[in-house]
């Protein structure tokens, strides 16, 4: 009988006064506050069924990042409510189109079995590791210091085909509540895989590989290799998926991988918006990459081809105020609707001169001084030095 869980013990409840419940909660709250830094975030935790405090070291980076326009930090902090995806448009729920993405893959991808198994197996492994099951052993000794580790990860990830690699802190306001408990470390390594140029060039008639699935599947194929590499150097880490739970655009801008594009996602100098991100969260204080101005906004303001070519009219011409920030809010319903009816649309990437013709070519169309930040700058002079009055 001792195995049976008793959910309602009436006698205990009588003993536990209202005051004692309050005291208990205050104690837990105090512990949670002491366990977190000043930049904490409080959110409803689905696993515990109570409010929970989390460390949020990325807040400082985001709030001070001039390339993310938060106009009212308090309003933004209060209203943050990140669901993974907006509600599906009617076309997605069409009875004639069950399992939309699977159908799409079978129709247009040459080797659809490889794509499906890679995505499936990798995703299952990510989920089980997030639950704490079957996590591979970490090498007992730390084989290199954090600075060396960062360089090693970068060169290893580059060798696997990730073109855009950066390190930043997680800002929990930009992750979905569903994964709050799965994000157990604060430092994130972003890994961007390029969608193939020649496939995108065939759009709007997708044939063989669809570009987005190419990006997703290769992220899936290689993210565990990066994670295993880090564990072999003696640091604990978890691979994360390519889905929308972590908002990679914002973290990418924080890590100086690019700037925001006209349609609100990250625009990298390597391959524009022709990129899909995945990530690894790591238990180490790696040196962080700071935000960089690539003058992409300057170029976009003089182009806006995506906005003018979007068949659904989902892309805004100007920024608008949205929950304490001024940002580009692409209308996801309109966009998804078009995606479902026209299969994989991505016309916004197809017309983008940076994505399709190259970043250098784009910047050369501006006056030459916009090329000052072409490489990650490391200023020799201390411009902040205070001089004598004279």
């Amino acid at each position: 009988m001792s195995d049976v869980k008793v959910y309602h013990n009436y006698e205990d409840e009588k003993k536990e006064s209202y005051q004692s419940v309050v005291e208990k909660w205050k104690k837990v709250k105090k512990e949670m506050k002491e366990g977190t830094s000043d930049n904490r975030i409080m959110r409803w935790s689905y696993s515990n069924g109570m409010f929970k405090y989390f460390n949020n070291p990325g807040k400082v980076i985001t709030d001070n990042n001039p390339y993310i326009n938060i106009v009212d930090v308090e309003e933004f902090d209060l209203s943050i409510k990140n669901h993974p995806f907006p509600p599906d448009p009617p076309a997605f729920n069409n009875k004639n189109r069950p399992n939309f993405f699977g159908t799409l893959m079978d129709e247009y991808v040459d080797d659809s079995t490889w794509y499906k198994t890679t995505l499936h197996e990798s995703y299952e492994r990510i989920l089980s590791e997030a639950r704490g099951e079957n996590v591979p052993k970490v090498h007992p000794e730390k084989l290199m210091d954090e600075l060396e580790l960062k360089d090693a990860i970068k060169s290893y990830a580059n060798s696997l085909g990730f073109v855009s690699v950066g390190v930043t802190k997680i800002d929990r306001r930009f992750i979905s509540v569903e994964v709050d408990d799965e994000i157990i470390f604060d430092t994130i390594i972003l890994l961007g895989y390029e969608m193939p140029h020649e496939v995108l060039h065939r759009y709007p008639e997708p044939a063989h590989d669809t570009a987005a699935y190419y990006g997703y599947a290769h992220c899936a194929a290689h993210v565990h290799e990066v994670a295993d590499f880090i564990r072999s150097k003696g640091y604990d880490c978890r691979a994360r998926s390519w889905e929308g739970f972590i908002k990679y655009s914002v973290h990418g801008v924080n890590a100086g991988l690019g700037n925001f594009s006209t349609y609100g996602i990250i625009h990298t100098p390597e391959c524009g918006t022709r990129i899909k991100y995945t990530s690894v969260i790591i238990d180490a204080d790696l040196p962080l990459d700071g935000p960089v101005d690539y003058n992409i906004e300057e170029f976009c303001a003089r182009c806006r081809m995506c906005q003018k070519s979007c068949p659904s009219g989902a892309i805004p011409k100007e920024e608008s105020r949205y929950r304490g920030t001024i940002k580009r809010t692409t209308d996801h319903i309109k966009c998804f609707d078009m995606m479902a009816t026209q299969h994989e649309c991505v016309k916004c990437i197809r017309v983008c001169p940076i994505s399709m013709l190259g970043y250098e070519n784009a910047l050369n169309s501006l006056p030459s001084y916009y090329k000052y930040n072409l490489e990650r700058p490391n200023y020799k002079t201390n411009y902040k030095e205070v001089l004598d009055e004279n």
């Binding site: 990042n65 326009n69 303001a301 003089r302 081809m305 050369n364 001084y369 020799k380 009055e389």
Partner: protein, 611 residues
């Protein structure tokens, strides 16, 4: 020491402290209007000041930036944004300075005194001081540009807050180019033509001879290849004029009368807008055919007479009286002046400049082109002096008269001011170029040449340097001078200085300063507006506003290259005066129209600072 030279590509080269900037730039094969030494806040050096050596500079970073075709206001704005966003130096003064520069680049009012006072405050950090030093320097060197921005004009077509699209800004008449291309895509040729006609009543003419300032600043051209705006303009005009039935609105007659001396592009444009706004307009044209330089100065193989006549007819049919063969001179000028409430003088520059050389057959280029209908004999060997469009017009015309033609110019072939298209077609037609020469002496039809080493000196002032050489030309029958033209105003005593001569007399077009056709047209409209302001004050009537369609753009915009207009075969060209450039076919025009990026639909709001 290693230094990065940044232009279109970045060159990393080894330099010594004693190297001058000019040496360094020349080793990379570059040219520069402005050079910035030492990173984003480094010192600026103008092109004529490049003899400074590297050790004279404080190298904050190991960068030398080569800056060509730039806007000083935008450069200042870039630096202030750089300071705030990248270097993280934020204070109220810097923010205010950035805000003022932002206002300048987006056409908002700026208090100049406050701007200057901000620049003269004492600043603490190195970054701020360098920024203020640089902006001060730019403000003193390019003050004209800053003033132009106050009035809402950016010469370099960079500050996008001041205009709808770069091509519209670059066109002196500000024709809505993306608009007429969009209308044309809908096969609405009449509306497209009417949209052009709101700014330019001689669109068909411009479609053949325009110097195309718009195509140089085409945004798509800066990324891959320009859109063929002129060819599209010609196609639309010819389609619209084929079945032209004027339904252009005229305002009620207001009783005022305006006289226009000279029936060239400027005069006809002014006449068109004034007659639509209810004025009685009389044009005094000294030749038998109206059109000014377009009729007499531009050869027929570039602009056939029927094209000019077609559009002049549309203007004449609106009620403009054109008095042909009426030369205004000292005697009848008072009568002409008294017959009208206002007089616009747009007589252009009909007198060709000549050099004094010892040769029996010397003629100015403009006279040569005018007298083509005479049966005068110019001989087999013709020498044209000059490197501009008129010189090449003369050369190609002479070639069609079956002569052997040599063109000499002071400039090298690449630096000749004539358009690339003209140069290319001249070579195709077998014209010999001796670029970088001038006439030394003429002895019994034998022309001895001298080499020209430099045309402009370091401060960009005309100051040619010569060197004797053995080159020469045997038996030249005729020498044609196309080295510039002068105005011919015997009936005016005062100085010509801008649009307003006095209360009653206005000026427009080449007569003020020689310029291109489309600029003369723009001036014609401007002066018509000025005249209206002094008389009826109703504003010019340019017709009903035209709605420009906003359709989803073609996804393949960046894949397709420019469809060049086809030209006549060279053999056929030399036998007649038929137009060399052919018109687009309907498919070609539709293809070309798809290539337009529709920059007029872009945002003009300035970027956020983000702090």
């Amino acid at each position: 020491m290693k230094i990065n030279i940044i232009e279109k590509t970045t060159y990393t080269i080894d330099v010594n402290n004693s190297d001058t900037l000019l040496d360094i730039i020349k080793t990379c094969g570059l040219k520069a209007q402005l050079v910035q030494v030492g990173g984003p806040l480094g010192e600026f050096v103008k092109a004529y000041d490049l003899n400074k050596t590297i050790d004279e500079f404080d190298l904050l970073e190991n960068n030398i930036m080569i800056i060509n075709s730039f806007c000083p206001v935008d450069l200042s704005r870039f630096m202030s944004r750089f300071l705030i966003r990248e270097l993280n130096i934020i204070n109220q003064d810097m923010k205010r300075l950035n805000e003022l520069l932002d206002h300048l680049t987006s056409g908002q009012y700026v208090d100049v005194d406050y701007f200057v006072s901000l620049l003269n405050r004492p600043y603490k950090t190195l970054g701020e001081r360098l920024l203020v030093r640089n902006i001060k320097w730019l403000y003193s060197e390019y003050q004209q540009e800053f003033i132009a921005h106050q009035n809402g004009y950016c010469k370099a077509s960079i500050c996008r807050g001041l205009f709808k699209a770069q091509c519209i800004n670059a066109c002196p008449a500000h024709i809505h180019i993306p608009g007429f291309i969009a209308l044309m895509k809908n096969k609405d040729y009449k509306s497209a033509y009417q949209l052009m006609r709101q700014e330019n009543p001689l669109s068909s003419v411009c479609g053949s001879v325009c110097a195309r300032p718009c195509e140089i600043k085409c945004r798509r051209g800066q990324i891959t290849g320009t859109v063929g705006v002129r060819a599209l303009q010609r196609f639309i005009s010819s389609e619209a004029l084929r079945s032209w039935q004027s339904d252009e609105s005229l305002m009620d007659k207001n009783g005022y009368s305006v006289g226009i001396v000279g029936g060239g592009p400027a005069g006809l444009t002014a006449a068109y807008y004034l007659v639509r706004s209810g004025y009685d307009v009389t044009v005094y044209e000294s030749h038998t055919e109206a059109g000014g330089m377009l009729a007499s100065g531009v050869p027929k193989y570039r602009l056939p007479s029927y094209l000019i006549r077609e559009e002049i007819d549309t203007i004449e049919n609106l009620g403009v009286e054109i008095k042909r063969n009426f030369k205004v001179d000292r005697e009848n000028y008072p009568n002409v002046l008294n017959a009208h409430d206002r007089l616009i003088i747009a007589t252009g520059t009909p007198k060709g400049r000549l050099l004094n050389i010892n040769h029996p057959n010397v003629i100015s280029g403009i006279d040569f082109l005018k007298r083509l209908n005479d049966t005068s004999d110019y001989g087999r060997r013709i020498l044209v002096v000059g490197g501009g469009d008129v010189a090449l017009d003369c050369a190609r015309t002479a070639r069609r008269l079956n002569a052997e033609v040599t063109v000499i110019s002071l400039e090298t072939f690449d630096e000749m001011p004539a358009s690339e298209e003209e140069k290319q077609q001249s070579i195709e037609e077998g014209i010999t170029f001796k670029s970088g020469y001038a006439i030394d002496s003429v002895d019994n039809k034998h022309v001895k040449l001298k080499r020209c080493l430099q045309v402009l000196d370091e401060a960009k002032v005309f100051n040619p340097l010569y060197e004797t050489c053995d080159d020469g030309l045997e038996t030249v029958d005729t020498v044609i001078f196309a080295i510039g033209q002068e105005r011919d105003l015997p009936f005016i005593d005062g100085e010509v200085n801008g649009y307003e001569y006095d209360d009653k007399v206005f000026m427009a077009g080449d007569v003020i300063k020689p310029t291109i056709v489309i600029d003369a047209i723009a001036q014609g409209k401007k002066v018509a507006g000025l005249v209206d302001k002094t008389l009826n004050k109703s504003g010019l009537n340019v017709g009903e506003p035209i709605t420009i369609p906003e359709r989803v753009l073609n996804i393949r915009t960046f894949d397709d290259d420019l469809k060049e207009v086809s030209t006549l075969p060279i053999k056929e060209r030399l036998l007649s005066f038929d137009q060399v450039n052919l018109n687009y076919s309907e498919e070609d025009a539709a293809y070309e129209a798809e290539r337009c990026m529709r920059c007029d639909r872009n945002s003009t709001v300035s970027l956020l600072l983000g702090r």
